[in-house]
């Protein structure tokens, strides 16, 4: 299994509080991704990073920010959590996809976040 660690694995917090999720990799992959998974929606991309300090928005980026100060760490922050952000969050990594996207993604085991 690819070396991807997500922390925390579970978190319960209240509306309006800040929350930071961490993804740590030991594979030295350039690309890192944050997804959320909700019933009926599959996986939706929040933000991704294509290098240290290089990030871009995904499909559902509103209310989320990210930072990547080191190759191995990609942080997802909910500045002021809302109940609609209750979800399971997955981090994924991949090598440079290239022009033909021929690289698979490797996933962590997720963070289950509940916002009350």
């Amino acid at each position: 299994d690819a070396g991807i660690t997500q922390s925390p694995r579970h978190k319960v917090t209240e509306t309006g509080t800040p929350v930071t999720l961490r993804c740590h990799q030991t594979e030295n992959h350039r690309y890192m991704y944050w997804y959320r998974q909700d019933p009926g929606h599959g996986l939706r991309l929040i933000h991704y990073s294509y290098g240290v300090k290089d990030t871009d928005k995904g499909e559902v980026s509103d209310g989320y920010s990210v930072s990547r100060s080191k190759t191995e760490d990609f942080l997802l922050t909910l500045e002021s959590a809302t109940s609609s952000q209750t979800s399971v969050y997955f981090c994924a990594i991949s090598e440079f996809p290239g022009q033909v996207f021929n690289q698979p993604q490797h996933f962590g085991d997720g963070t289950r976040l509940s916002i009350l």
């Binding site: 991807i4 991704y33 599959g42 996986l43 994924a92 996207f101 021929n102 993604q105 997720g110």
Partner: protein, 113 residues
């Protein structure tokens, strides 16, 4: 909106039977990938098929791709209880340079022993 849509949403079969799942997508692609997700775990990459390939095999898995219909199918032969999981297709959206993978909503497969 999701690029990929899997069909059926849920599938229940007996051990030893074959399971077929379908994926439809909307835009041109460079490749299409299939992933498996066991309950409470992250997704695991199964197989990748390039846009210029029509069929690919890996063990008990057979994937087909029809770019004219913008669809793919995943066949699992001689299914086992351990194949019980959700299966997702993912596409690259045609390689617009943004390197975003787009996942479908998944098929939940249950294999009964």
């Amino acid at each position: 909106s999701q690029q990929g849509e899997e069909d059926p949403q849920a599938l229940s079969i007996q051990e030893g039977e074959n399971a077929t799942m379908n994926c439809s997508y909307k835009t041109s692609i460079n490749n299409l990938q299939w992933y498996r997700q066991n309950s409470g775990r992250g997704l695991v990459h199964l197989i990748l098929i390039r846009s210029n390939e029509r069929e690919k095999h890996s063990g008990r898995l057979r994937v087909t791709l029809d770019t004219s219909k913008k669809s793919s199918s995943l066949l699992i032969t001689a299914s086992r209880a351990a194949d019980t999981a959700s299966y997702f297709c993912a596409t690259d959206g045609g390689g617009s340079g943004t390197y975003k993978y787009i996942f479908g909503t998944g098929t939940r497969l249950k294999v009964l022993a």
